[in-house]
Protein backbone atom coordinates (compact mmCIF):
# COMPACT_ATOMS: atom_id res chain seq x y z
CA UNK A 1 0.00 0.00 0.00
CA UNK A 2 2.75 2.38 1.00
CA UNK A 3 4.39 1.77 -2.37
CA UNK A 4 1.18 2.64 -4.17
CA UNK A 5 0.70 5.98 -2.40
CA UNK A 6 4.28 7.02 -3.09
CA UNK A 7 3.95 6.51 -6.81
CA UNK A 8 0.61 8.29 -6.83
CA UNK A 9 1.53 11.46 -4.99
CA UNK A 10 3.70 13.32 -7.47
CA UNK A 11 1.95 12.44 -10.74
CA UNK A 12 -1.48 13.86 -11.59
CA UNK A 13 -2.31 17.50 -11.03
CA UNK A 14 -5.93 18.21 -9.94
CA UNK A 15 -6.79 20.02 -13.18
CA UNK A 16 -5.63 17.07 -15.27
CA UNK A 17 -7.65 14.73 -13.16
CA UNK A 18 -10.80 16.80 -13.55
CA UNK A 19 -10.59 16.92 -17.33
CA UNK A 20 -9.82 13.22 -17.37
CA UNK A 21 -12.92 12.57 -15.32
CA UNK A 22 -15.04 14.77 -17.56
CA UNK A 23 -13.79 12.95 -20.63
CA UNK A 24 -14.55 9.62 -19.01
CA UNK A 25 -18.08 10.72 -18.12
CA UNK A 26 -18.92 11.17 -21.77
CA UNK A 27 -17.95 7.64 -22.68
CA UNK A 28 -20.85 5.23 -23.26
CA UNK A 29 -19.29 2.70 -20.91
CA UNK A 30 -19.33 5.25 -18.10
CA UNK A 31 -22.95 6.12 -18.74
CA UNK A 32 -23.83 2.46 -18.74
CA UNK A 33 -22.24 2.07 -15.32
CA UNK A 34 -24.17 5.05 -13.99
CA UNK A 35 -27.42 3.64 -15.36
CA UNK A 36 -26.63 0.25 -13.87
CA UNK A 37 -25.90 1.76 -10.47
CA UNK A 38 -29.16 3.68 -10.55
CA UNK A 39 -31.04 0.51 -11.42
CA UNK A 40 -29.40 -1.52 -8.66
CA UNK A 41 -30.04 1.29 -6.17
CA UNK A 42 -33.68 1.31 -7.14
CA UNK A 43 -33.87 -2.46 -6.72
CA UNK A 44 -32.33 -2.24 -3.24
CA UNK A 45 -34.72 0.49 -2.16
CA UNK A 46 -37.65 -1.53 -3.48
CA UNK A 47 -36.52 -4.74 -1.75
CA UNK A 48 -35.81 -3.03 1.55
CA UNK A 49 -39.20 -1.34 1.65
CA UNK A 50 -41.16 -4.16 0.06
CA UNK A 51 -42.41 -5.93 3.22
CA UNK A 52 -43.65 -2.61 4.60
CA UNK A 53 -45.35 -1.67 1.34
CA UNK A 54 -46.86 -5.13 1.33
CA UNK A 55 -48.23 -4.62 4.83
CA UNK A 56 -49.73 -1.23 3.98
CA UNK A 57 -51.26 -2.49 0.71
CA UNK A 58 -52.70 -5.53 2.45
CA UNK A 59 -54.46 -3.16 4.82
CA UNK A 60 -56.56 -2.03 1.86
CA UNK A 61 -57.74 -5.55 1.09
CA UNK A 62 -60.74 -7.45 2.30
CA UNK A 63 -59.89 -10.49 4.37
CA UNK A 64 -60.06 -13.02 1.55
CA UNK A 65 -57.74 -10.97 -0.63
CA UNK A 66 -54.78 -10.80 1.77
CA UNK A 67 -53.95 -14.45 1.24
CA UNK A 68 -55.75 -15.69 -1.82
CA UNK A 69 -55.46 -18.14 -4.71
CA UNK A 70 -54.92 -17.00 -7.36
CA UNK A 71 -52.57 -14.55 -5.79
CA UNK A 72 -53.19 -10.84 -6.24
CA UNK A 73 -50.74 -8.13 -5.44
CA UNK A 74 -53.08 -5.17 -5.35
CA UNK A 75 -56.60 -5.21 -3.95
CA UNK A 76 -59.47 -5.41 -6.40
CA UNK A 77 -60.87 -2.23 -4.94
CA UNK A 78 -58.84 0.00 -2.59
CA UNK A 79 -60.85 0.15 0.59
CA UNK A 80 -60.18 2.31 3.61
CA UNK A 81 -62.48 0.24 5.75
CA UNK A 82 -59.73 -1.66 7.60
CA UNK A 83 -57.94 1.53 8.47
CA UNK A 84 -61.10 3.33 9.57
CA UNK A 85 -62.22 0.25 11.49
CA UNK A 86 -58.96 -0.18 13.40
CA UNK A 87 -58.67 3.53 14.10
CA UNK A 88 -62.19 3.67 15.49
CA UNK A 89 -61.59 0.60 17.65
CA UNK A 90 -61.37 2.02 21.17
CA UNK A 91 -59.24 -0.85 22.44
CA UNK A 92 -56.62 -0.22 19.77
CA UNK A 93 -56.69 3.54 20.25
CA UNK A 94 -56.33 3.11 23.99
CA UNK A 95 -53.36 0.83 23.38
CA UNK A 96 -51.71 3.40 21.12
CA UNK A 97 -52.40 6.17 23.62
CA UNK A 98 -51.13 4.27 26.65
CA UNK A 99 -48.03 3.08 24.81
CA UNK A 100 -47.35 6.60 23.55
CA UNK A 101 -47.89 8.04 27.03
CA UNK A 102 -45.52 5.51 28.59
CA UNK A 103 -42.98 6.05 25.82
CA UNK A 104 -42.95 9.81 26.36
CA UNK A 105 -42.41 9.48 30.11
CA UNK A 106 -39.82 6.77 29.58
CA UNK A 107 -37.99 8.92 27.02
CA UNK A 108 -38.01 12.04 29.19
CA UNK A 109 -36.86 10.05 32.22
CA UNK A 110 -34.17 8.31 30.23
CA UNK A 111 -32.76 11.60 28.95
CA UNK A 112 -32.87 13.16 32.42
CA UNK A 113 -31.24 10.43 34.48
CA UNK A 114 -28.70 9.33 31.90
CA UNK A 115 -27.53 12.82 30.99
CA UNK A 116 -27.07 13.81 34.63
CA UNK A 117 -24.96 10.73 35.19
CA UNK A 118 -23.05 11.41 31.98
CA UNK A 119 -22.25 14.91 33.19
CA UNK A 120 -21.00 13.61 36.52
CA UNK A 121 -18.79 11.02 34.83
CA UNK A 122 -17.48 13.43 32.21
CA UNK A 123 -16.92 16.60 34.21
CA UNK A 124 -16.86 16.01 37.94
CA UNK A 125 -14.11 14.64 40.09
CA UNK A 126 -15.52 12.60 42.92
CA UNK A 127 -14.49 10.00 45.40
CA UNK A 128 -15.02 6.48 44.07
CA UNK A 129 -15.24 7.46 40.42
CA UNK A 130 -12.63 4.85 39.55
CA UNK A 131 -14.91 2.11 40.85
CA UNK A 132 -18.34 3.45 39.93
CA UNK A 133 -17.67 4.05 36.23
CA UNK A 134 -16.48 0.51 35.40
CA UNK A 135 -19.42 -0.85 37.37
CA UNK A 136 -21.85 1.18 35.27
CA UNK A 137 -20.08 0.15 32.06
CA UNK A 138 -20.23 -3.47 33.12
CA UNK A 139 -24.02 -3.41 33.14
CA UNK A 140 -23.85 -2.88 29.38
CA UNK A 141 -22.46 -6.38 28.92
CA UNK A 142 -24.98 -8.32 30.96
CA UNK A 143 -27.21 -10.16 28.44
CA UNK A 144 -30.91 -9.44 28.63
CA UNK A 145 -31.90 -13.08 28.87
CA UNK A 146 -29.62 -13.69 31.85
CA UNK A 147 -31.43 -11.13 33.97
CA UNK A 148 -34.88 -11.37 32.38
CA UNK A 149 -36.04 -14.03 34.80
CA UNK A 150 -34.60 -12.47 37.94
CA UNK A 151 -35.81 -9.00 36.88
CA UNK A 152 -39.25 -10.53 36.77
CA UNK A 153 -38.76 -11.80 40.33
CA UNK A 154 -37.56 -8.33 41.43
CA UNK A 155 -40.56 -6.48 39.99
CA UNK A 156 -42.86 -9.09 41.47
CA UNK A 157 -41.33 -8.48 44.91
CA UNK A 158 -41.70 -4.74 44.40
CA UNK A 159 -45.40 -5.21 43.57
CA UNK A 160 -44.89 -3.52 40.24
CA UNK A 161 -46.53 -6.20 38.11
CA UNK A 162 -49.33 -5.00 35.87
CA UNK A 163 -48.65 -1.30 36.37
CA UNK A 164 -47.25 1.30 34.01
CA UNK A 165 -44.28 1.65 36.36
CA UNK A 166 -43.01 -1.82 35.49
CA UNK A 167 -42.79 -0.79 31.86
CA UNK A 168 -41.19 2.58 32.48
CA UNK A 169 -38.82 2.34 35.42
CA UNK A 170 -36.66 -0.79 35.03
CA UNK A 171 -35.13 0.08 31.65
CA UNK A 172 -34.73 3.80 32.21
CA UNK A 173 -31.09 3.90 33.27
CA UNK A 174 -29.01 2.62 30.37
CA UNK A 175 -25.23 2.42 30.42
CA UNK A 176 -25.02 2.75 26.64
CA UNK A 177 -26.84 6.07 26.77
CA UNK A 178 -24.68 7.33 29.63
CA UNK A 179 -21.62 6.33 27.64
CA UNK A 180 -22.87 8.09 24.54
CA UNK A 181 -23.74 11.39 26.26
CA UNK A 182 -20.55 11.27 28.32
CA UNK A 183 -18.53 10.98 25.13
CA UNK A 184 -20.25 14.11 23.88
CA UNK A 185 -19.63 16.01 27.14
CA UNK A 186 -15.96 15.07 27.14
CA UNK A 187 -15.61 16.97 23.88
CA UNK A 188 -17.03 20.23 25.18
CA UNK A 189 -14.06 22.54 25.80
CA UNK A 190 -13.43 23.16 29.49
CA UNK A 191 -12.72 26.85 28.80
CA UNK A 192 -16.48 27.37 28.42
CA UNK A 193 -17.01 25.90 31.85
CA UNK A 194 -14.17 27.89 33.42
CA UNK A 195 -15.49 31.14 32.03
CA UNK A 196 -18.89 30.43 33.56
CA UNK A 197 -17.35 29.56 36.92
CA UNK A 198 -15.39 32.85 36.84
CA UNK A 199 -18.66 34.66 36.30
CA UNK A 200 -19.92 33.07 39.48
CA UNK A 201 -21.81 30.15 38.08
CA UNK A 202 -22.05 27.11 40.36
CA UNK A 203 -21.75 23.52 39.24
CA UNK A 204 -25.48 23.16 38.75
CA UNK A 205 -25.48 26.44 36.87
CA UNK A 206 -22.81 25.10 34.54
CA UNK A 207 -24.83 21.96 33.92
CA UNK A 208 -28.16 23.70 33.44
CA UNK A 209 -27.01 26.79 31.55
CA UNK A 210 -24.10 25.49 29.49
CA UNK A 211 -24.30 21.74 29.06
CA UNK A 212 -28.05 21.29 28.67
CA UNK A 213 -28.48 23.87 25.89
CA UNK A 214 -25.55 22.28 24.04
CA UNK A 215 -26.95 18.78 24.39
CA UNK A 216 -29.62 18.83 21.73
CA UNK A 217 -27.84 16.41 19.41
CA UNK A 218 -27.09 13.65 21.93
CA UNK A 219 -30.52 14.09 23.54
CA UNK A 220 -32.22 13.57 20.18
CA UNK A 221 -30.31 10.31 19.71
CA UNK A 222 -30.94 9.05 23.25
CA UNK A 223 -34.56 10.19 23.03
CA UNK A 224 -35.33 8.46 19.73
CA UNK A 225 -33.55 5.30 20.78
CA UNK A 226 -35.47 5.21 24.06
CA UNK A 227 -38.80 5.93 22.41
CA UNK A 228 -38.27 3.20 19.83
CA UNK A 229 -37.10 0.72 22.44
CA UNK A 230 -40.22 1.36 24.49
CA UNK A 231 -42.61 1.35 21.56
CA UNK A 232 -41.18 -1.83 20.05
CA UNK A 233 -40.83 -3.71 23.33
CA UNK A 234 -42.70 -6.98 23.32
CA UNK A 235 -41.34 -9.64 25.66
CA UNK A 236 -41.25 -7.53 28.83
CA UNK A 237 -44.87 -6.27 28.49
CA UNK A 238 -46.01 -9.80 27.71
CA UNK A 239 -44.38 -11.02 30.92
CA UNK A 240 -45.49 -8.22 33.22
CA UNK A 241 -48.80 -6.85 31.93
CA UNK A 242 -52.02 -8.80 32.15
CA UNK A 243 -54.80 -6.18 32.20
CA UNK A 244 -56.05 -5.37 28.70
CA UNK A 245 -56.30 -1.68 29.70
CA UNK A 246 -52.51 -1.56 30.00
CA UNK A 247 -51.72 -3.62 26.92
CA UNK A 248 -48.79 -2.27 24.93
CA UNK A 249 -49.03 -1.94 21.19
CA UNK A 250 -46.77 -4.86 20.20
CA UNK A 251 -48.45 -7.06 22.77
CA UNK A 252 -51.84 -6.04 21.39
CA UNK A 253 -50.84 -6.89 17.83
CA UNK A 254 -49.46 -10.29 18.82
CA UNK A 255 -52.62 -11.04 20.81
CA UNK A 256 -54.79 -9.82 17.93
CA UNK A 257 -53.00 -12.22 15.61
CA UNK A 258 -53.64 -15.04 18.04
CA UNK A 259 -57.29 -14.33 18.67
CA UNK A 260 -58.63 -12.88 15.45
CA UNK A 261 -56.42 -14.72 13.01
CA UNK A 262 -58.92 -14.58 10.17
CA UNK A 263 -59.16 -10.78 10.03
CA UNK A 264 -55.90 -10.40 8.17
CA UNK A 265 -56.69 -7.11 6.45
CA UNK A 266 -57.51 -5.55 9.80
CA UNK A 267 -54.34 -6.98 11.34
CA UNK A 268 -52.25 -5.54 8.52
CA UNK A 269 -53.92 -2.15 8.88
CA UNK A 270 -53.27 -2.24 12.63
CA UNK A 271 -49.63 -3.20 12.11
CA UNK A 272 -49.23 -0.36 9.62
CA UNK A 273 -50.73 2.11 12.11
CA UNK A 274 -48.41 0.81 14.84
CA UNK A 275 -45.35 1.09 12.60
CA UNK A 276 -46.17 4.53 11.26
CA UNK A 277 -45.30 6.69 14.32
CA UNK A 278 -41.86 5.10 14.55
CA UNK A 279 -41.19 5.47 10.83
CA UNK A 280 -42.25 9.13 10.89
CA UNK A 281 -40.09 9.74 13.95
CA UNK A 282 -37.15 8.15 12.20
CA UNK A 283 -37.66 10.13 9.01
CA UNK A 284 -37.83 13.40 10.94
CA UNK A 285 -34.59 12.71 12.81
CA UNK A 286 -32.86 10.43 10.30
CA UNK A 287 -29.89 12.71 9.84
CA UNK A 288 -28.96 12.69 13.53
CA UNK A 289 -29.62 8.96 13.88
CA UNK A 290 -27.49 8.06 10.88
CA UNK A 291 -24.68 10.33 12.06
CA UNK A 292 -24.81 8.62 15.44
CA UNK A 293 -24.48 5.18 13.89
CA UNK A 294 -21.43 6.35 12.00
CA UNK A 295 -19.85 7.39 15.27
CA UNK A 296 -20.66 4.03 16.79
CA UNK A 297 -19.00 2.31 13.88
CA UNK A 298 -15.78 4.20 14.16
CA UNK A 299 -15.17 3.36 17.80
Amino acid sequence: MAVLTETAAPTTAPADRRTARRRRMLQPRWMLIVALKALVSLAIVALALFPLAWMIISGFKIRTEVVSTPFQFFPEVWRWQNYTAILSDTAFLRTLAITGFGAVIFTAGSIAVNSMAAYAFARLEFAGKRYVWPLVLMTMFIPGMTILLTSFIVVTDLHMLDTLAVLIIPGMATAAHIFFVRQFYLNIPSSLEEAAVMDGCGRWGVYLRIFLPLSKAPFVVVGITSFMAYWNNFVWPVMTITSPELFQVQQYLAAFRGERASELGLLMAGSACAALPIIVLFLVFQRQIIANIKMAGLK
Binding site: L124, T156, G297
Partner: protein, 305 residues
Protein backbone atom coordinates in the same frame (compact mmCIF):
# COMPACT_ATOMS: atom_id res chain seq x y z
CA UNK B 1 7.78 29.20 45.35
CA UNK B 2 8.47 25.76 44.09
CA UNK B 3 7.30 24.24 47.33
CA UNK B 4 4.31 26.45 48.03
CA UNK B 5 2.76 26.21 44.57
CA UNK B 6 1.48 22.62 44.79
CA UNK B 7 0.32 23.25 48.34
CA UNK B 8 -1.63 26.28 47.24
CA UNK B 9 -3.18 24.44 44.32
CA UNK B 10 -4.11 21.56 46.54
CA UNK B 11 -5.79 23.95 48.92
CA UNK B 12 -7.61 25.54 46.02
CA UNK B 13 -8.79 22.20 44.59
CA UNK B 14 -9.74 20.54 47.80
CA UNK B 15 -12.98 22.32 48.84
CA UNK B 16 -14.44 22.30 45.34
CA UNK B 17 -13.56 18.63 44.99
CA UNK B 18 -15.51 17.77 48.12
CA UNK B 19 -18.41 19.77 46.80
CA UNK B 20 -18.15 17.89 43.53
CA UNK B 21 -18.39 14.58 45.29
CA UNK B 22 -21.70 15.35 46.91
CA UNK B 23 -23.05 16.92 43.75
CA UNK B 24 -21.79 14.01 41.63
CA UNK B 25 -23.63 11.53 43.80
CA UNK B 26 -26.81 13.56 43.68
CA UNK B 27 -26.59 13.49 39.90
CA UNK B 28 -25.67 9.83 39.83
CA UNK B 29 -28.22 8.72 42.38
CA UNK B 30 -31.11 7.92 40.00
CA UNK B 31 -28.92 5.94 37.64
CA UNK B 32 -27.06 4.11 40.38
CA UNK B 33 -30.27 3.18 42.18
CA UNK B 34 -32.00 2.01 39.01
CA UNK B 35 -29.05 0.04 37.68
CA UNK B 36 -28.51 -1.56 41.09
CA UNK B 37 -32.11 -2.66 41.49
CA UNK B 38 -32.91 -3.64 37.92
CA UNK B 39 -29.60 -4.83 36.49
CA UNK B 40 -26.94 -5.59 39.10
CA UNK B 41 -29.22 -7.15 41.69
CA UNK B 42 -30.96 -9.39 39.11
CA UNK B 43 -27.54 -10.41 37.80
CA UNK B 44 -26.36 -11.34 41.30
CA UNK B 45 -29.67 -13.09 41.93
CA UNK B 46 -29.31 -15.03 38.69
CA UNK B 47 -25.95 -16.40 39.78
CA UNK B 48 -27.15 -17.07 43.30
CA UNK B 49 -30.47 -18.71 42.43
CA UNK B 50 -28.89 -20.92 39.80
CA UNK B 51 -27.59 -22.99 42.72
CA UNK B 52 -31.07 -23.45 44.15
CA UNK B 53 -34.24 -25.29 43.36
CA UNK B 54 -36.20 -22.06 43.53
CA UNK B 55 -39.80 -21.43 42.60
CA UNK B 56 -42.50 -18.92 43.40
CA UNK B 57 -44.44 -21.53 45.31
CA UNK B 58 -42.08 -23.55 47.50
CA UNK B 59 -39.12 -23.01 49.78
CA UNK B 60 -35.85 -22.95 47.94
CA UNK B 61 -33.36 -25.69 48.42
CA UNK B 62 -29.63 -25.46 47.81
CA UNK B 63 -28.68 -27.97 45.15
CA UNK B 64 -25.13 -26.92 44.29
CA UNK B 65 -24.10 -27.50 40.71
CA UNK B 66 -27.12 -29.70 39.98
CA UNK B 67 -28.86 -27.17 37.72
CA UNK B 68 -25.72 -26.64 35.67
CA UNK B 69 -25.23 -30.38 35.45
CA UNK B 70 -28.84 -30.82 34.32
CA UNK B 71 -28.36 -28.25 31.58
CA UNK B 72 -25.06 -29.68 30.40
CA UNK B 73 -26.43 -33.21 30.07
CA UNK B 74 -29.65 -32.00 28.43
CA UNK B 75 -29.52 -32.77 24.72
CA UNK B 76 -32.22 -30.17 24.12
CA UNK B 77 -29.95 -27.41 25.39
CA UNK B 78 -27.14 -28.45 23.07
CA UNK B 79 -29.58 -28.83 20.18
CA UNK B 80 -30.69 -25.24 20.82
CA UNK B 81 -27.07 -24.02 20.91
CA UNK B 82 -26.28 -25.84 17.65
CA UNK B 83 -29.44 -24.43 16.11
CA UNK B 84 -28.31 -21.00 17.25
CA UNK B 85 -24.95 -21.50 15.49
CA UNK B 86 -26.78 -22.70 12.40
CA UNK B 87 -28.92 -19.57 12.54
CA UNK B 88 -25.78 -17.45 12.84
CA UNK B 89 -24.37 -19.10 9.71
CA UNK B 90 -27.63 -18.36 7.91
CA UNK B 91 -27.75 -14.70 8.88
CA UNK B 92 -24.33 -13.20 9.63
CA UNK B 93 -22.44 -14.01 6.39
CA UNK B 94 -25.42 -13.01 4.24
CA UNK B 95 -25.87 -9.82 6.19
CA UNK B 96 -22.15 -8.95 6.02
CA UNK B 97 -21.92 -9.53 2.25
CA UNK B 98 -25.17 -7.71 1.49
CA UNK B 99 -24.32 -4.71 3.62
CA UNK B 100 -20.84 -4.60 2.11
CA UNK B 101 -22.29 -4.52 -1.40
CA UNK B 102 -24.91 -1.93 -0.54
CA UNK B 103 -22.29 0.18 1.22
CA UNK B 104 -19.97 -0.03 -1.79
CA UNK B 105 -22.79 1.12 -3.99
CA UNK B 106 -23.84 3.90 -1.64
CA UNK B 107 -20.32 5.31 -1.50
CA UNK B 108 -19.99 5.39 -5.28
CA UNK B 109 -23.23 7.15 -6.22
CA UNK B 110 -24.25 10.79 -5.93
CA UNK B 111 -25.02 12.15 -2.50
CA UNK B 112 -28.75 12.30 -3.03
CA UNK B 113 -29.01 8.69 -4.20
CA UNK B 114 -26.76 7.68 -1.34
CA UNK B 115 -29.09 9.32 1.20
CA UNK B 116 -32.11 7.58 -0.27
CA UNK B 117 -30.25 4.27 -0.11
CA UNK B 118 -29.17 4.83 3.48
CA UNK B 119 -32.61 5.86 4.68
CA UNK B 120 -34.50 3.05 2.97
CA UNK B 121 -32.07 0.34 4.04
CA UNK B 122 -32.35 1.59 7.63
CA UNK B 123 -36.14 1.94 7.81
CA UNK B 124 -36.71 -1.80 8.49
CA UNK B 125 -34.47 -1.51 11.57
CA UNK B 126 -36.95 0.77 13.28
CA UNK B 127 -39.80 -1.70 12.80
CA UNK B 128 -40.55 -4.01 15.72
CA UNK B 129 -39.91 -7.73 15.58
CA UNK B 130 -43.62 -8.30 16.11
CA UNK B 131 -44.66 -6.30 13.06
CA UNK B 132 -41.93 -7.90 10.95
CA UNK B 133 -43.11 -11.32 12.14
CA UNK B 134 -46.74 -10.64 11.30
CA UNK B 135 -45.86 -9.39 7.83
CA UNK B 136 -43.56 -12.29 7.03
CA UNK B 137 -45.99 -14.88 8.35
CA UNK B 138 -48.46 -13.63 5.77
CA UNK B 139 -45.83 -13.57 3.02
CA UNK B 140 -45.03 -17.21 3.91
CA UNK B 141 -48.69 -18.30 4.07
CA UNK B 142 -49.13 -21.76 2.62
CA UNK B 143 -52.17 -21.44 0.44
CA UNK B 144 -52.26 -17.78 -0.54
CA UNK B 145 -48.94 -16.25 0.43
CA UNK B 146 -46.77 -14.15 -1.81
CA UNK B 147 -43.72 -16.42 -1.71
CA UNK B 148 -45.60 -19.52 -2.83
CA UNK B 149 -47.25 -17.52 -5.60
CA UNK B 150 -43.77 -16.51 -6.77
CA UNK B 151 -42.31 -20.00 -6.75
CA UNK B 152 -45.43 -21.32 -8.50
CA UNK B 153 -44.51 -19.11 -11.43
CA UNK B 154 -41.31 -21.08 -11.93
CA UNK B 155 -43.21 -24.32 -11.45
CA UNK B 156 -42.27 -25.18 -7.87
CA UNK B 157 -45.20 -26.41 -5.75
CA UNK B 158 -46.28 -24.67 -2.54
CA UNK B 159 -44.05 -25.07 0.52
CA UNK B 160 -45.08 -24.76 4.14
CA UNK B 161 -42.23 -22.36 4.90
CA UNK B 162 -42.90 -22.05 8.60
CA UNK B 163 -44.52 -25.46 9.06
CA UNK B 164 -41.76 -27.51 7.49
CA UNK B 165 -38.79 -28.21 9.78
CA UNK B 166 -36.48 -28.05 6.76
CA UNK B 167 -37.44 -24.49 5.92
CA UNK B 168 -38.59 -22.90 9.16
CA UNK B 169 -35.21 -21.69 10.44
CA UNK B 170 -34.25 -20.20 7.06
CA UNK B 171 -37.68 -18.58 6.85
CA UNK B 172 -36.93 -16.80 10.12
CA UNK B 173 -33.42 -15.86 8.99
CA UNK B 174 -34.86 -13.73 6.16
CA UNK B 175 -36.68 -11.16 8.35
CA UNK B 176 -33.73 -11.26 10.76
CA UNK B 177 -31.39 -10.17 7.97
CA UNK B 178 -33.93 -7.65 6.74
CA UNK B 179 -34.25 -6.06 10.19
CA UNK B 180 -30.52 -5.96 10.86
CA UNK B 181 -29.12 -4.86 7.51
CA UNK B 182 -29.47 -1.12 8.08
CA UNK B 183 -27.08 -0.69 10.97
CA UNK B 184 -24.26 -2.78 9.51
CA UNK B 185 -24.61 -1.03 6.16
CA UNK B 186 -24.38 2.41 7.74
CA UNK B 187 -21.36 1.41 9.79
CA UNK B 188 -19.67 0.03 6.69
CA UNK B 189 -20.44 3.21 4.73
CA UNK B 190 -18.82 5.27 7.47
CA UNK B 191 -15.77 3.02 7.45
CA UNK B 192 -15.49 3.18 3.66
CA UNK B 193 -15.67 6.96 3.65
CA UNK B 194 -12.75 6.97 6.08
CA UNK B 195 -10.40 5.29 3.62
CA UNK B 196 -8.22 7.96 1.99
CA UNK B 197 -9.08 8.66 -1.66
CA UNK B 198 -5.40 8.64 -2.57
CA UNK B 199 -5.28 4.86 -2.07
CA UNK B 200 -7.90 4.36 -4.76
CA UNK B 201 -6.42 6.93 -7.11
CA UNK B 202 -3.07 5.20 -6.88
CA UNK B 203 -4.66 1.82 -7.50
CA UNK B 204 -6.55 3.17 -10.47
CA UNK B 205 -3.30 4.44 -11.98
CA UNK B 206 -1.88 0.97 -11.62
CA UNK B 207 -4.91 -0.33 -13.48
CA UNK B 208 -6.64 -2.11 -10.60
CA UNK B 209 -10.27 -3.00 -11.27
CA UNK B 210 -13.15 -2.83 -8.76
CA UNK B 211 -12.55 -6.34 -7.51
CA UNK B 212 -8.84 -5.76 -6.94
CA UNK B 213 -9.46 -2.43 -5.24
CA UNK B 214 -11.99 -4.09 -2.95
CA UNK B 215 -9.76 -7.04 -2.06
CA UNK B 216 -6.48 -5.14 -1.69
CA UNK B 217 -7.66 -1.81 -0.32
CA UNK B 218 -11.22 -1.68 0.99
CA UNK B 219 -11.37 -4.94 2.94
CA UNK B 220 -7.94 -4.65 4.61
CA UNK B 221 -8.65 -1.03 5.53
CA UNK B 222 -11.98 -2.00 7.06
CA UNK B 223 -10.59 -4.92 9.01
CA UNK B 224 -11.44 -3.54 12.44
CA UNK B 225 -14.95 -2.54 11.49
CA UNK B 226 -15.62 -5.88 9.82
CA UNK B 227 -14.36 -7.64 12.91
CA UNK B 228 -16.57 -5.49 15.11
CA UNK B 229 -19.59 -6.25 12.91
CA UNK B 230 -18.78 -9.96 12.85
CA UNK B 231 -18.64 -10.21 16.63
CA UNK B 232 -21.68 -8.01 17.30
CA UNK B 233 -23.53 -9.79 14.49
CA UNK B 234 -22.73 -13.14 16.03
CA UNK B 235 -23.78 -12.09 19.51
CA UNK B 236 -26.96 -10.41 18.26
CA UNK B 237 -27.93 -13.22 15.95
CA UNK B 238 -27.50 -16.07 18.40
CA UNK B 239 -29.58 -14.17 20.95
CA UNK B 240 -32.47 -13.64 18.54
CA UNK B 241 -35.68 -14.96 19.97
CA UNK B 242 -38.46 -12.50 19.30
CA UNK B 243 -38.92 -13.54 15.66
CA UNK B 244 -39.26 -17.28 16.35
CA UNK B 245 -41.31 -16.53 19.47
CA UNK B 246 -43.93 -14.65 17.46
CA UNK B 247 -43.68 -16.49 14.13
CA UNK B 248 -43.50 -20.12 15.23
CA UNK B 249 -43.22 -20.29 19.01
CA UNK B 250 -40.15 -22.47 18.44
CA UNK B 251 -41.88 -25.07 16.29
CA UNK B 252 -42.30 -27.10 14.16
CA UNK B 253 -40.81 -29.82 16.37
CA UNK B 254 -38.41 -27.33 17.93
CA UNK B 255 -36.88 -26.47 14.54
CA UNK B 256 -36.77 -22.77 15.38
CA UNK B 257 -36.17 -22.99 19.12
CA UNK B 258 -33.09 -20.81 19.32
CA UNK B 259 -31.13 -20.81 22.61
CA UNK B 260 -32.83 -17.78 24.16
CA UNK B 261 -36.26 -19.00 23.14
CA UNK B 262 -35.40 -22.39 24.63
CA UNK B 263 -34.60 -20.68 27.92
CA UNK B 264 -37.68 -18.46 27.71
CA UNK B 265 -40.02 -21.37 26.95
CA UNK B 266 -38.44 -23.35 29.78
CA UNK B 267 -39.01 -20.45 32.15
CA UNK B 268 -42.64 -20.21 31.16
CA UNK B 269 -43.26 -23.92 31.37
CA UNK B 270 -41.19 -24.90 34.40
CA UNK B 271 -42.08 -23.79 37.93
CA UNK B 272 -38.45 -24.13 39.03
CA UNK B 273 -36.31 -21.35 37.61
CA UNK B 274 -32.92 -22.81 38.59
CA UNK B 275 -32.59 -24.71 35.35
CA UNK B 276 -33.47 -21.68 33.20
CA UNK B 277 -31.03 -19.47 35.09
CA UNK B 278 -28.23 -21.99 34.82
CA UNK B 279 -28.91 -22.33 31.10
CA UNK B 280 -28.89 -18.55 30.64
CA UNK B 281 -25.60 -18.22 32.52
CA UNK B 282 -24.00 -21.08 30.62
CA UNK B 283 -25.11 -19.56 27.36
CA UNK B 284 -23.57 -16.28 28.44
CA UNK B 285 -20.27 -18.05 29.12
CA UNK B 286 -20.44 -20.02 25.86
CA UNK B 287 -21.20 -16.85 23.87
CA UNK B 288 -18.43 -14.88 25.52
CA UNK B 289 -15.98 -17.68 24.77
CA UNK B 290 -17.04 -18.03 21.14
CA UNK B 291 -16.91 -14.30 20.48
CA UNK B 292 -13.46 -14.02 22.01
CA UNK B 293 -12.34 -16.98 19.90
CA UNK B 294 -13.69 -15.31 16.75
CA UNK B 295 -11.92 -12.16 17.83
CA UNK B 296 -8.63 -13.99 18.32
CA UNK B 297 -8.76 -15.92 15.06
CA UNK B 298 -9.65 -12.99 12.87
CA UNK B 299 -7.37 -10.63 14.71
CA UNK B 300 -4.37 -12.92 14.44
CA UNK B 301 -4.61 -13.13 10.67
CA UNK B 302 -2.36 -10.58 9.09
CA UNK B 303 -4.87 -8.92 6.86
CA UNK B 304 -3.11 -5.60 6.60
CA UNK B 305 0.24 -5.37 4.75
Amino acid sequence: MAISAPAASRRRVHPSRRQDTSMAYIMLAPVLILLSIFVLWPAIQAVYLSFFDWSFYTDSEFVGWKNFHDVLVDDKFWDAVLRGLQFVLMTVPVSMVLSFLVASLATSVSRRVSTVLKVSIYIPSVISGVIASITFVIIYDYSGGLLNALINIVGVPNQAWLGDPRWALAAIAVPAVWLGLGISTLIMIAAMLDIPDSFYEAAQLEGANWWQRTVYITIPQMKNVLLFLLVTGFVGSIQQFELPLVMTGGGPHGATELPNLFIFNHFRGDAYVGYSLAAALLLFVVLGTISSVIFRIVNSEKLVD
